[in-house]
Amino acid sequence: MYQSKWRIFTNHAILILGALFMIMPVWIAFSSSSYTPEYIFQNGLQFWPGAHFFDNYGAILFDPSATKGRVTALEMLFNSMVLGLGFAIGKVIISMMAAYAIVYFRFKLAVPIFWVIFSTLLLPLEVRIVPSYEVVAGLGLLNTYTGLILPLIASATGTFFFRQFYRSVPDELLEAARLDGAGPIRFFIDILVPLSVTMIAAIFIIMFVVGWNQYLWPLLMTTDDQLYTIVIGIKQVYNSLYEGGQIPQFPKAFALTIMATIPPVLVVVVFQRMFVKGLVETEK
């Protein structure tokens, strides 16, 4: 397609500015994370990386006192990984199964069940945090991975993704499988699950990122440092920045921020195609 020279030039200029707009804050945080707190305190944020990269990241990763708590960033990363994976796996399995029942079966309670599942879309966790907290506390699940993950899975977004996808699977496939002697469970395992592999991968990636980035629920749920995710750790360090008359530990806060950001960004960039496909095709 024809484009004028001027148009091509402005296109690149605008996109470069846009990319800088996205990247600059993270880059500055990264550079500033490699200085001593004293240096940052006296000289402000830094554009170019400094000499204390390994000191700061090493301390954060392995020394609990650097994160102002009893856990290291390494343990927090592990907790985040558990939350991200647990959330993604749980959500994919549960919603695949529920969507299968809804789309492929005629059963008595189908309509009320559909509406119960649908209603969870109306009310995100954020609007019912207080009673949810009480329920989880009542079940004795505070400060457990189960209590952290299960309530987040209650929302039905995944079920709707899969419902949408199953409906696009040609009817003839089910008919052919039935003629081939496959019953409901065999059809699910032999045909539908293998057919959904790309969709599963795409939703898994999205859910992993969503799970990793959870903030409000883990904040309420985890009073025990041992269960802090890295995203909660940021808040913890941030809160103690001005404590005790010391020099604010900005570089370490930045280092933690960078570490919280790298895994989900890597996942999104590496699996970009799959991720975009999943996001765009399922949310519509």
Partner: protein, 356 residues
């Protein structure tokens, strides 16, 4: 090998729509039966009722004298070829064919033998390791056929299996299907809306319209003695010419257009208004004469082996189609004179459309 008997089968959908109105049909051992009709006539529904993919509202369907109304599709011992092939996209072609056998508990070596046999018959041996997505339309069609024949079912069902192929491939596959069916001798029911496919494949043809079997018979019977005006118009290409006529007092001829008299040898009462049907290939060119169809050429299509001329005649500009062998140089507005033999004239009741 099996017989299929359909006894007063009806299908009514929950919304009250009646797709099939009481069909009776007895398909014999090894017979190739074709269901043909326009879209929405119920032909696919009937096929799916035989397969068990649609329930039967009333009546009975039996395979080999066993009523199968309540039998699960997988237990009816039938195989089906779908219009869009319905191959399992994540399995290679070998597994696509083997899947039904595995579910039926065949041993590994039996499965292997059967799949390899089918692959040899269909010339798919080279393609077994590939997945359906890597095949051309014709090859996919073959895998779908293979999936049907490995099971050596009692009945083959085909749901417009060739309609997604291009014209040349369609002809090749048509011949192949006919050949295969004759070789294996398996009772088959085939659904199509293409009358050429229907005529060439069928041992017996069922022309359906609006959920009713309008006529059941051999292709030639249906061509020569269409039971209704609908069948007459649907089978044959180009379609039969229809003209409104009145039987003369002495019952020796019928008058069409503005005074054209055509000889009759039907037994029909005098003065009755009828629909006269004449196939384009049964009109013959003759010398101009009073009382003949003296028509004017409106349009010509030369197909090489034959020539089609679209003509108008009489004060009411009634139109007829003429089909002659070979190439003819008709000019536009050229005047032609046509006649038709008495035994090539079909008469239908003007109201009911039934053959007289």
């Amino acid at each position: 090998m099996a017989t299929v008997t359909i006894n007063q089968a009806e299908k009514t959908y929950p919304n009250g729509y009646k797709a099939i109105h009481g069909i009776n049909l007895a398909i014999e051992n090894g017979e190739f039966t074709v269901l043909v009709g326009p879209s929405g006539c119920g032909k696919s529904t009937l096929l799916r009722m035989i397969a068990g993919l649609e329930g039967i509202s009333s009546g009975e369907i039996s395979i080999d004298d066993r009523v199968v109304n309540k039998v699960a599709p997988a237990d009816r011992d039938i195989a089906m070829v779908f219009q869009n092939y319905a191959l399992y996209p994540h399995m290679n072609n070998y597994n696509n064919m083997a899947y039904g056998l595995r579910n039926r508990g065949y041993s590994k070596s039996e499965i292997d033998n059967k799949v390899r046999d089918a692959a040899r018959i269909l010339q798919l041996e080279e393609l077994l390791e590939r997945k359906p997505g890597q095949l051309s339309g014709g090859q996919r069609q073959r895998v779908a056929m293979g999936r049907a024949i490995v099971r050596q079912p009692k009945v083959f069902l085909f749901d417009e299996p060739l309609s997604n192929l291009d014209a040349k491939l369609r002809v090749d596959m048509r011949l192949e299907i006919k050949n295969l069916q004759q070789r294996l001798g398996i009772t088959s029911v085939y659904v199509t809306h293409d009358q050429v496919e229907a005529m060439t494949l069928a041992d017996r043809l069922i022309v359906m319209n609006g959920g009713v079997a309008e006529q059941i018979g051999s292709p030639i019977e249906i061509y020569e003695k269409p039971a209704t005006q609908f069948v007459a118009g649907f089978i044959g290409s180009p379609a039969m010419n229809f003209l409104t006529g009145t039987v003369s007092d002495d019952r020796t001829h019928v008058t069409v257009g503005d005074g054209v008299k055509l000889d009759l040898d039907h037994d029909v009462e005098a003065g009755r208004t009828v629909t006269v049907g004449i196939r384009p290939e049964h009109l013959t060119l003759v010398d101009a004469q009073e009382g003949r169809i003296n028509a004017e050429v409106r349009m010509v299509e030369s197909l090489g082996a034959e020539t089609l001329a679209y003509l108008d005649f009489g004060a009411n500009a009634d139109s007829v189609t003429l089909r002659v062998q070979g190439t003819h140089q008709f000019a536009k507005n050229e005047k032609l004179s046509l006649s038709v033999a008495a035994d090539k004239i079909h008469l239908f009741d003007a109201q009911s459309g039934k053959r007289i």
